[in-house]
């Protein structure tokens, strides 16, 4: 196992309690580690929450962090994965002046080519949505930038692992519905 820094996706299954986010982020804070992205949502199990956190650290460090996360009372279990071990996506929204859409033919080609969707169009602006890898949303950002981006926002990573995480087993639940 190396000290080399790489990107890891941390998946945490937990109870849905106030304060747990603070407790988990404190584990990173204590070790002076920046969180690249963080998403929380309902998981596949009722009343069980899922955190997806992306960090750039060494594998030794991520193993220690996982143990500290697992130690938290309200955490059911946590896992770390390398990029190749997960299916992951991010969603980005781009708000662009409507004027550019009609005056610049090129912009329509960009949207088509990048497989982005137009979410809404109004007289003043229109909004494009693109879901994909970071490189793809960034490429679209760069392509749209010259036409004047009014707003840009990107979600945290959402990811599912290729291997099962067996949370139901840990909780003693039967998911074969």
């Amino acid at each position: 196992m190396s000290d080399k820094i790489s990107t890891f996706t941390v998946s945490i299954y937990s109870e849905n309690n106030i304060g747990l986010l603070n407790r988990i982020s404190a584990i990173f804070l204590k070790r002076h580690i920046n969180i690249e992205s963080l998403t929380t949502s309902q998981s596949e199990i009722e009343n069980i929450f899922r955190f997806v956190i992306v960090v750039n650290v060494s594998e030794i460090m991520i193993q220690r962090i996982i143990k500290q996360i697992n130690k938290q009372i309200e955490v059911i279990s946590s896992f770390y994965h390398k990029n190749e071990e997960t299916i992951y996506l991010e969603t980005a929204l781009y708000k662009v002046k409507s004027k550019s859409l009609f005056s610049e033919k090129h912009i329509q080609k960009i949207i088509k080519k990048s497989q982005a969707n137009i979410v809404t169009v109004s007289p003043d602006y229109f909004v494009i949505e693109k879901t994909g890898w970071r490189e793809e949303t960034e490429k679209l950002y760069k392509e749209l930038e010259p036409y004047g981006l009014l707003q840009f926002v990107r979600s945290g990573r959402i990811s599912v692992s290729k291997e099962p995480m067996n949370i139901s087993n840990l909780l003693g639940l039967n998911t074969d519905k």
């Binding site: 304060g19 603070n22 193993q63 500290q68 009372i73």
Partner: protein, 565 residues
């Protein structure tokens, strides 16, 4: 199950504490916790509340109580400054795995987030230093949250829990019903490991020519002293303790080879780097134990017996991890290992002890110079108490000397702030220790610096009448920092010299009998008189101003580079 019709949240707090077997609370009242204190008034025949002079004192007293009794220490404080004053003690309890439940009052729930009077986000503040914490805004949640709090504090690797209760929840009436908590679905207090690991570990132990054990507080917290003794006596393995493991094994046991770490004994430190097998029992490889990790026991195979999976491979990579409470893991291992002795290897430890004795120990406990040494005071305490006392220490030179030279026959006798190194710990912790073990002699050994950080707790000792014996080893310096300044900062004594008050007069001001010695000829009698007293007693001993504690592993050095001078 106990069912009563409609009571207030405040009364529910008290009833829940009684259900958990609590009969002693340390605390300090204030606005946001007044409804609970009002109930305490009604229940004073069942619950003894000790009013400390500062909330920090309450936490350390609860720690001292817990460390000698094995029970959960309970603390109460009001919101805002009351709550923030708990933080040092909570952090101390967290790093030293002391079970503690702190209950704080909070402003009414409709005021949360409004910067109300004495509002502070104690949940946010205490999160990194608690095993668990929880804010309660509804009375109906009080019983189940407190049940959870006690279960979490004492199960698995123990630790502090903080419960913050808004004032409206304390007033609210509800149908009370208490059920103890025995499990939480997301929490697994004790991990286990497969049987083949025990087979492998026992093979390793049987094959080892130079095995060495370092044991920590896990042995004490697991009440596994006899299991530990059986294991070492069967295998004949020399065993050294971390500062928190001290007293788990009698100091005069033939396999007890002393202390590891920065000011530990010569042999155990040097031989850490010569053993072929290191067995770590309920300890966490703190940097004060290991010195430079890159040169720590690299030649040895390592077996780690530990309750907390997060400690495995955290600092030192082990070959085999035996997860679980040492109370159950040690007997499993004992069953599998061969009867053995390691006389020649054990003798190596005594050879090193001889070197240390000649170079350091002899001069410390039988000094010929005029000034008194800290070690000779500890020796006198050993004699006067026959090694049966609970010794409570603060942080610094006196702590290292006390731990090095104190004799212990019984477990749960050494109470000190190990991981956090909290000056000001000892005086309130000694009060708690005396209340947790009233039949035992409790001697607080404190430096003149740390003593003045919580000196106001003399008031609590006076008010409770707890017969704590207080020894202040006064060198008019923050001695440990001064030692480092001498050794590593060319004697630039920046802000370490203290001009001290008349400690005897202060103690007498609190109606505590007090004495002061500065001559060797007076020492034995003065200590004897103190121990014979049935009341709280204060003894100041003027010691040599610029003595140093040796041996010492300088920060970042290897354990085998321990210095004798």
């Amino acid at each position: 199950m106990n069912s009563i019709n409609k009571i207030s949240g405040a009364e529910a707090v008290i009833r829940s504490l009684i259900e958990e077997g609590v009969d002693l609370i340390y605390g300090y009242p204030g606005g946001a916790i007044m409804p609970i204190y009002d109930e305490l008034y009604k229940f004073q025949d069942k619950l003894n509340h000790v009013l400390t002079r500062h909330e920090q004192g309450a936490t350390h007293a609860a720690q001292g109580f817990s460390r000698v009794s094995g029970k959960v220490g309970v603390v109460m404080a009001t919101s805002g400054p009351g709550a923030t004053n708990l933080v040092t003690g909570i952090a101390d309890a967290q790093i030293d795995s002391t079970p503690m439940v702190c209950i704080t009052g909070q402003v009414a729930s409709h005021l949360l987030g409004s910067d109300a009077f004495q509002e502070t986000d104690i949940i946010g503040i205490s999160t990194p230093v608690t095993k668990w914490n929880c804010q309660v805004t509804k009375a109906e949640d009080i019983p189940k949250v407190l049940a959870k709090a006690f279960y979490i504090a004492k199960s698995g690797r123990p630790g502090p829990v903080l419960i913050d209760i808004t004032k409206d929840a304390q007033f609210e009436l509800f149908n009370y019903n208490y059920q103890k908590c025995n499990s939480i679905r997301s929490y697994n207090p004790i991990s286990t490991c497969s049987d083949d690991l025990y087979d492998k570990a026992s093979e390793m132990i049987n094959d080892s020519k130079k095995p060495f054990i370092v044991f920590g507080q896990g042995v004490i917290l697991g009440n596994a002293e006899s299991e530990f003794k059986k294991f070492i006596e069967k295998t004949g393995i020399p065993s050294a303790w971390t500062i928190l493991g001290l007293s788990a094994l009698p100091t005069d046991h033939y396999l007890n080879v002393g202390m590891v770490g920065m000011h530990g004994n010569y042999g155990p430190n040097v031989l850490t780097n010569e053993c072929d097998l290191l067995i770590a029992v309920g300890m966490r490889f703190d940097d004060r134990v290991t010195g430079n990790l890159n040169t720590y026991a690299k030649q040895a195979k390592i077996i780690h017996l530990e309750i907390d999976p997060a400690e495995i491979d955290k600092n030192v990579k082990c070959d085999i991890a035996l997860l679980g409470d040492v109370k159950s893991t040690l007997p499993k291992l004992t069953k599998l290992v061969n009867n053995n002795t390691h006389d020649k290897w054990l003798k190596t430890f005594s050879d090193y002890y001889k070197i240390e004795y000649d170079k350091v120990i002899h001069n410390e406990i039988n000094p010929t110079k005029i000034g008194l040494t800290m070690a000779e005071v500890i020796k006198e305490i050993n004699v006067a108490t026959d090694g049966n006392a609970v010794i409570v220490t603060d942080v610094g030179q006196h702590q290292m000397v006390a731990c090095r030279y104190a004799k212990f026959n019984d477990s749960k006798s050494n109470v000190t702030s190990g991981g956090l190194g909290t000056m000001g710990f000892a005086l309130p912790a000694a009060l708690g220790a005396k209340m947790g073990a009233p039949e035992r002699e409790v001697v607080a050994v404190i430096g003149d610096g740390g003593y003045q950080m919580t000196i106001q707790e003399l008031g609590t000792i006076f008010q409770t009448g707890s017969a704590v014996k207080i020894v202040v080893l006064n060198n008019d310096f923050l001695g440990m920092v001064r030692q480092w300044q001498q050794m590593f900062f060319e004697k630039r004594y920046a802000s370490t010299e203290l001009i001290n008050p008349d400690f005897v007069m202060i103690a007498k001001g609190y109606n505590i009998e007090a004495n002061k010695v500065s001559k060797r000829s007076e020492l034995t009698l003065a200590v004897k008189k103190m121990i014979e007293s049935k009341k709280p007693y204060f003894l100041e001993v003027k010691v040599e101003k610029e003595d140093n504690v040796f041996p010492m592993i300088p920060t970042g050095a290897s354990v085998s580079d321990i210095r004798l001078e």
